[in-house]
Amino acid sequence: IVGGVAAQPGNSPWTVSLRNREGKHFCGGSLVKDNWVISTRQCFTSCDADLTGYEAMMGSLFKNPGPNDPDAQSVPISRIVCGPSDSGLVMLKLEKSVTLNSRVAVICLPPERYIVPDGTECEITGWGDTKGTGYPDVMKVAKFYVLNNGECNVYHKGKVKDNDICTRPMTVEIGACEGDYGGPLSCLTLDCWVLEGVIIPARGCGKRNQPAIFTRVSVYVDWINKVMKMN
């Protein structure tokens, strides 16, 4: 995350670090059930990729927690399921359920086809590149506010679709960057954090005065539930 602040203990316990066979963080994700993570298709080789050796790590604020970190939980990924073609989403099944506690929690899914009200407070989190804005080794968090698609389209010249969700432009450089893709845009609704968006690769990182675009999760909630039910 470019800009933003270092996350504190207890912040974003649903944010997941996806690790390749070398144990290297390569993308983010969100825990939507104790054995399911949602992320973006762009991070994965194919819809039937053999993910043996890939793991989901959560619970620690550190990008590379030590072997004795009491909070970190790493679970192998056992399956990948690609979302509807226009979604760019993937669901990752974990080999076993993680233990939910104060450091590892499940984020809520929004109601189907729900529109997050303009101005709702949200945040993005991740262990991606900070472009020199500090805390490169810990999870960072940046606060945003939802922008309606109509206004967002004025900035993006009509390219924003209904299955996208935007956040208001900021006057400083702040936003997701390399390594954050697949991670959550979590918004606070009725005392609960809800996964309203998934971070997707965009040109540049945290460009000032420009709304950021995410995949709108509410459009795919029926698919998410169906995958969890059938697998």
């Binding site: 991070c43 194919s46 960057c177 390399e178 893709y181 009725l190 029926d222 169906k226």
Partner: protein, 457 residues
């Protein structure tokens, strides 16, 4: 420091069965390398299968290539066969070759070793000398390799033309796809088995890298080195390259699909001109060592398209990447390049959500054949049948649960329970109905303990 298992080729999750024999097996309790030692010391032992559940083995006088022998799946067993019996190439002059080639290089049929007609000779089969049937052998250590007497009375004997292992499978590009049988390094050291951690411990455990075929102790290139290599059985030499003949230009086959504006799979075939990272940092030229020193020199990796400073994937990473021109950031992915759509051609269309679709498309968007609806005989199937507006016939794509993403089906691929079908919406892009929720209720999800932040110090 060599393991006795080095003489064996392992096949996981299978056992050998002689159908005429009963199911009863005489098994010996022993560690796997003890079984290997025992089998090696017996002239008539050609393989053994190891039961990992009971930690015992059965020494066998045959291999999977023997007549009347069936290879059967059994998760409890691994089969270890002597390499000399299963390898289709030779090491050195091939005097240990025990394969089943029985024709000469000019196509003549070999004479049985036990026969003295049409050609009389001095070699007689014994249990240990391998002169079985009419297979090509090298009982006199002929430097030209295995040979045989032929059944043609005008040709006494002829070479069989069995290739040396280093020539049998040629090296394509950097040999990441090399699956040949060379098991010695270029200095002649024997390779360490990939499934052993001694004498050298290493990260390349075969079960962790199923796509790299880290079989036995054969030379492989799992890390995109310049050439296939292996850890050696010499405790003082960690790893070494292997000497394998390079393919000629004609033999060279591209095993990756070349793309330009998008990338497929891992993007190893991406040859487009994107030359910045996702966040816009310019890439370093591949032929430059500044600001980052690296091993991916274009002349060492001729098939990887390491031109200019374009995003490429020479090492099998998740996606195309490059070294960046920023000293503080060594490498970064080029995720701004889109993945190519891997959908199959769509041949039909549906209206709305497709809940009334009753066409005959029966393939998913990935081209997988649909499963018959009546094969799901569980509760889910009953509820789908009850709610479907059109009959769930055969394996045709349907939308019985009014899935907003269109018709779908259960698939024949056991890794994909269900998937959407190769059908497009008839009216172009689908209209989404997004709505403000009147009443939202959540249970235990999405809660976090911000008090932890205060206790964090």
């Amino acid at each position: 420091h060599r393991s006795p298992l080095n003489d064996y080729q392992r096949s996981k999750g299978v056992e050998l069965v002689q159908p005429s024999q009963g199911a009863e097996k005489q098994e010996v309790d022993a560690e796997v390398h003890i079984c290997a030692k025992r089998c090696s010391s017996l002239g008539d032992c050609r393989s053994f299968d190891y039961n990992w559940k009971t930690l015992s083995c059965r020494l066998l006088p045959w291999t999977q290539k023997s007549e009347h022998i069936v290879l059967q799946r059994n998760v409890n067993y691994d089969l270890y066969e002597k390499k000399d019996y299963v390898r289709e190439c030779i090491i050195g002059n091939g005097d240990t070759y025990r394969g089943a080639v029985s024709k000469t290089e000019k196509g003549k049929t070999c004479q049985q070793w036990r026969m003295k007609f049409p050609h009389d000779h001095k070699y007689s089969p014994t249990p240990g000398n391998g002169l079985d049937e009419n297979y090509c052998r090298n009982p006199d250590s002929d430097p030209k390799g295995p040979w045989c007497y032929t059944t043609d009375k005008n040709t006494r004997h002829e070479q069989c033309g069995i290739k040396k292992c280093k020539d049998a499978v040629c090296l394509n590009c950097n040999g990441e796809d090399y699956r040949g049988f060379v098991d010695r390094t270029e200095s002649g050291k024997e390779c360490q088995r990939w499934d052993l951690q001694s004498p050298h411990s290493h990260p390349y455990k075969p079960e962790r890298y199923p796509d790299k075929s880290l079989d036995d102790n054969y030379c492989r290139n799992p890390d995109s080195s310049e050439r296939p290599w292996c850890y050696t059985t010499d405790p003082n030499v960690h790893r070494e390259y292997c000497q394998i003949t390079k393919c000629t230009e004609k033999q060279r086959q591209r095993n990756v699909e070349v793309t330009g504006s998008c990338f497929k799979e891992r993007g190893e075939g991406y040859r487009g001109k994107a030359n910045t990272t996702t966040s816009g940092i310019p890439c370093q030229r591949w032929d430059s060592q500044s600001p980052h020193q690296h091993r991916f020199l274009p002349d060492k990796y001729p098939c990887k398209g390491l031109d200019e400073n374009y995003c490429r994937n020479p090492d099998g990473s998740e996606a195309p990447w490059c070294f960046t021109t920023q000293p503080g950031m060594r490498v970064a992915y080029c995720f701004q390049i889109k993945r190519c759509p891997d959908d199959v051609e769509q041949t039909d269309c549906y209206y709305g959500n497709g809940e009334l679709y009753n066409g005959k498309v029966s393939k998913t968007r990935k081209g997988i054949t649909c499963r018959n609806w009546d094969e799901r005989m569980d509760q889910l199937q009953v509820s789908l049948e009850q709610s479907s507006l059109v009959p769930l016939e055969n394996n045709y794509c349907r939308n019985p649960d009014r899935d907003s993403h269109g018709p779908w089906c259960f698939t024949m691929d056991q890794n994909t329970q269900f998937d959407y079908c190769a059908i497009k919406p008839c009216d172009g892009e689908k209209l989404l109905t997004l709505e403000e929720a009147e009443k939202i209720e959540f249970d235990s999800c999405g809660k976090r303990n911000d008090r932890l932040s205060k206790l964090g110090r």
